[in-house]
Amino acid sequence: MPTEILMPALSPTMEEGTIAKWLVKKGDSVLPGDILAEIETDKATIEFESIEEGIVGEILVPEGSQGIKINEIIAILLAPDESKVPERTKKKIEHKHVIESKPLIAKGKPEASVEIKELTQPETKTITVREALRDAMAEEMRANPNIFLMGEEVAEYQGAYKISQGLLEEFSAKRVIDTPITEHGFAGIGVGAAFGGLNPIIEFMTFNFAMQAIDQIVNSAAKTLYMSGGQMGCSIVFRGPNGAASRVGAQHSQDYSAWYSSVPGLKVVSPFSSDDAKGLLKSAIRDPNPVIFLENEILYGESFEVPIDNNFIVPIGKARIRRSGNDVTIVSFGIGLKFALEAAELLSESGIDSEVIDLRTLRPMDTDTIIQSVMKTNRCVTVEEGFPVCSIGNYISSVIMQEAFDYLDAPVINCTGKDVPMPYAANLEKLALLTTAEVITAVEEVMYR
C-alpha cells in the first residue's frame, strides 16, 4: 500500500506552508527519521521527517511551492516492495496551489521582494505584518548605528516567529544579539543600555514571558525620567506578540494591553495592519521614551498594502478611522479589528452603518477621535481580546460618560474575552475568545434592535 505524505502542521497557528526544499527525489529509499523536506511555516523553516520506511514514489508538490494547505498530499511513499504509484492513487491527487517557484524572503533587503505585477501601483506593496515589522527595524537600524535588537532566538534562529529574519546577516552579531532565557535580566540590561545612550529594541518571545521582566519595564524604564527630574531618558522598545495564539493554554494566551496602558511613562502601541505595524514601529524606535509594542501572532501572516517610501511613518497617539459610518461607533485595536471589521461588514447587510475606529496607540489614547465619533453616532461598542475587568473598554466607557454623556442614546457595551484563564480544549477556548457574533449582538443591543 502506498502511503500518502501530507503537508504537516508544524506550529499552533500554521494553516499553510511552503515546501522550501526536497531532500529526497523520486526513487530514493527512505528510513523512519530520514529528512524528507524542509518546510517553511509561518514561524520557521522546519525539517520534516519520514515516519515510514519506503521508496519515494512521487513528489507531487515541487520545491518552492507556497500556500500548501495542511493535510494536502505532497508526496507518495511506496512500500519497500512496491515499484510504482498505482493509477487510482494518482487520480486522487489534485493540487491547485503550486505556483511559480520563487526565492524565499530576501534576507535584509526587503525591497528586493517587490513583485513585478505590483509595479503598476508604485506607491504601495503588499506585505505581511511580519515583513513590515522586520522592514521597520532594518530601515531604522540602517539609519542609526545605536539601535540594536536583543532577545531570545532573534539572531541565529532568525526569530522565534521569524520577525528578525535576515537581520543578523545584515547587521552582525554586534547589533542582533541572542540572549539566554533570562527576561528579567536582559530587560534590565536593555534599560541600562538605553540610559547609556543606545536605542535598544528588546524582543520578548511573547509578552507572557515579559511578566518576568515587568519590574524593569515599569519601575526602571517608565519611572526614571520622572524620578530624575527629567535627566534620564530611556529610549527603548519592548516588542513581541501579545494575546492569545491558538491552543496554547492559559499561561501563553493573555492580552496585556490594559496592564501596560495604566502606567504613566510608557507609551503603548498595538497595530492591526502591515502599514501601521511598520509606520508605528519606526516611530516607536525613534521615540525617546519607552514604548511597549504589542504585536499579535495570528496577524503576523496577514497581508496588507504598505507604502514603499522608506520615509513612511505613522505617528504614535493617532487613531485611524477604518470605516466611516453614522449609526454606531465600534472602537477596537490590534486583533480586535478583525472582529470589528467583520461585524461592521455583516451589519451593513442589515442596514446598520458602523464607524470603526482603530486606536492603534493605547497610550496616549486618541480619545478625541472616539468622542467626535460618538457625538455623531450616539452609540458605542468597544472590542478587545483582554479580560473584562479593568479593560481598555472600561476606560473608554468612562471617558465617553464624562465627555459625551448627553450624546449617548444607549449604554456603552464592552466586548472582551471572557473572565477565565484561557482553556486548552478547542471548544472551551472558542467560547473564551471574542467572536464576531458577540460584536454583532452588542451593536444590535446598543441600536435597540
Binding site: 525620567l225 527630574g229 534620564m232
Partner: protein, 325 residues
C-alpha cells in the same frame, strides 16, 4: 595598611571625602528627626571607605549605579551636598527637582545613574550601562553596587551570566554590611562567601576589608585594570558595617549595641585614617581640626540650602513623564 607610599594629598582627600559622608549623613538623620526629610532614608554611616576607596580607582567616563542607600555614592562622585540634601528634603533645588527623594537621585553630568529603590534592580541596569560602553568601544567601566541582601536576588545571577558571556566591563560590588534590613547573612544563606558565587559563571573576584579605604582602593585598581583589559566583569565583596538601622524607622533589635560599639571603636575607617595621618605626622592636630570645620560648614550650608529651597512648583506634577518627540 598596604606598604606602598600613598601621596599625602590623596590620603587627605580620602579623609575629607569620608568625613563629608559621615557628617552629611548625621545631618540627614537630624533633619529626618525634625520632619524635614520624609519617607525612607537609609544612612551610609560606617560604610564610607567602600565608596571613597572605589571612587579613587575611577577615571573620567566611568559610570556608577547603586541601590537606595545612595547618599554616600553621590557625594563621593562629586555631586553637590546642597543638591543632595535639597532632594532629601523634597525641594525644587534637589537633583531630581524634589520628585525622586532619597532613593531616586541621578546626575547625568557625574555619570551617576541612581539611586534604585527595588532591591537588585540596579544590577542588570549597571551591566546595561557597561554594555553601552562596550558597544561604543570606550574604555570606561561601570561600578555596580549592591548589598548582601540583593545578592540573593535572581536577576543578579541572570546578569552575572550575561556579563561574563559578553565580557562586559562591569565591576559588581557587594557591599556586605552583614544585614539585609534585619536579616543577618547567617540567616539568609549557607554560602557565606558571596563573591565566590561568581566563580560558577567564570567571574573572578575577591573579598576586601571595607573598613580600610586604602585596601578598598587597591582592590578597585585591580578590578578596573581587569575590566579595562577586556576581560569582562569582576566581583568585589567588600566587608563593611552599617552603624545605623536599615532605615530611620529601624529599631535594630536584631543586633546588640555592643556589637555596633565594638566595630565603631576598633575598625572605624575614618578614625583609623585619622590616626595614620597624625601618627605618621602627615597632618597636625590643628590641620585635622581645620578639615573638620571645613566639612561641618559644607554640611551646614547644605542643610540651610535645603531648608531655604522652595518646594517644587505645582506645575512640576505633570512634567518629566515623557520626553518630547
Amino acid at each position: 595598611m598596604p606598604k606602598k607610599k600613598m601621596p599625602i594629598a590623596k590620603l587627605q582627600k580620602y579623609y575629607k571625602d569620608m568625613l563629608l559622608i559621615r557628617r552629611f549623613e548625621e545631618k540627614a538623620g537630624q533633619l529626618y528627626g525634625m520632619g524635614l526629610i520624609g519617607g525612607f532614608c537609609h544612612l551610609y554611616i560606617g560604610q564610607e571607605a567602600v565608596v571613597v576607596g572605589l571612587e579613587a580607582a575611577a577615571i573620567k567616563g566611568d559610570k556608577r549605579i547603586t541601590s537606595y542607600r545612595d547618599h554616600g555614592h553621590m557625594l563621593a562622585c562629586g555631586m553637590e551636598a546642597k543638591g543632595v540634601m535639597a532632594e532629601l528634603a523634597g525641594r525644587g533645588d534637589g537633583y531630581s527637582k524634589g520628585k525622586g527623594g532619597s532613593m531616586h537621585m541621578f546626575s547625568k553630568e557625574k555619570n551617576f545613574f541612581g539611586g534604585h529603590g527595588i532591591v537588585g534592580a540596579q544590577v542588570p541596569i549597571g551591566a546595561g550601562l557597561a554594555f553601552s560602553d562596550k558597544y561604543k568601544g570606550t574604555k570606561s567601566v561601570t561600578f555596580t553596587y549592591f548589598g548582601d541582601g540583593a545578592a540573593n536576588q535572581g536577576q543578579v545571577y541572570e546578569t552575572y551570566n550575561m556579563a561574563m558571556l559578553w565580557k562586559l566591563p562591569v565591576i559588581f560590588i557587594i557591599e556586605n554590611n552583614q544585614y539585609a534590613m534585619g536579616t543577618s547573612v547567617d540567616r539568609s544563606t549557607k554560602s557565606h562567601s558571596l563573591w565566590e558565587r561568581g566563580l560558577a559563571y567564570g567571574i573572578k573576584g575577591e573579598e576586601v576589608d571595607g573598613m580600610d579605604v586604602l585596601k578598598v582602593k587597591d582592590a578597585g585598581d585591580r578590578a578596573t585594570a581587569h575590566c579595562r583589559k577586556g576581560n569582562g566583569p569582576y566581583i568585589l565583596e567588600i566587608k563593611t558595617y552599617r552603624y545605623r538601622g536599615h532605615s530611620m524607622s529601624d529599631p535594630a533589635r536584631y543586633r546588640t549595641r555592643e556589637e555596633v560599639q565594638k566595630v565603631r571603636s576598633e575598625r572605624d575607617p575614618i578614625e583609623n585614617l585619622r590616626d595614620i595621618l597624625l601618627t605618621e605626622k602627615h597632618l597636625s592636630e590643628q590641620e585635622i581640626k581645620k578639615i573638620d570645620v571645613e566639612i561641618k560648614d559644607i554640611v551646614n550650608d547644605a542643610a540651610e540650602f535645603a531648608k531655604a529651597s522652595p518646594e517644587p512648583s505645582v506645575n512640576e506634577l505633570f512634567t518629566d513623564i515623557y520626553l518630547e518627540v
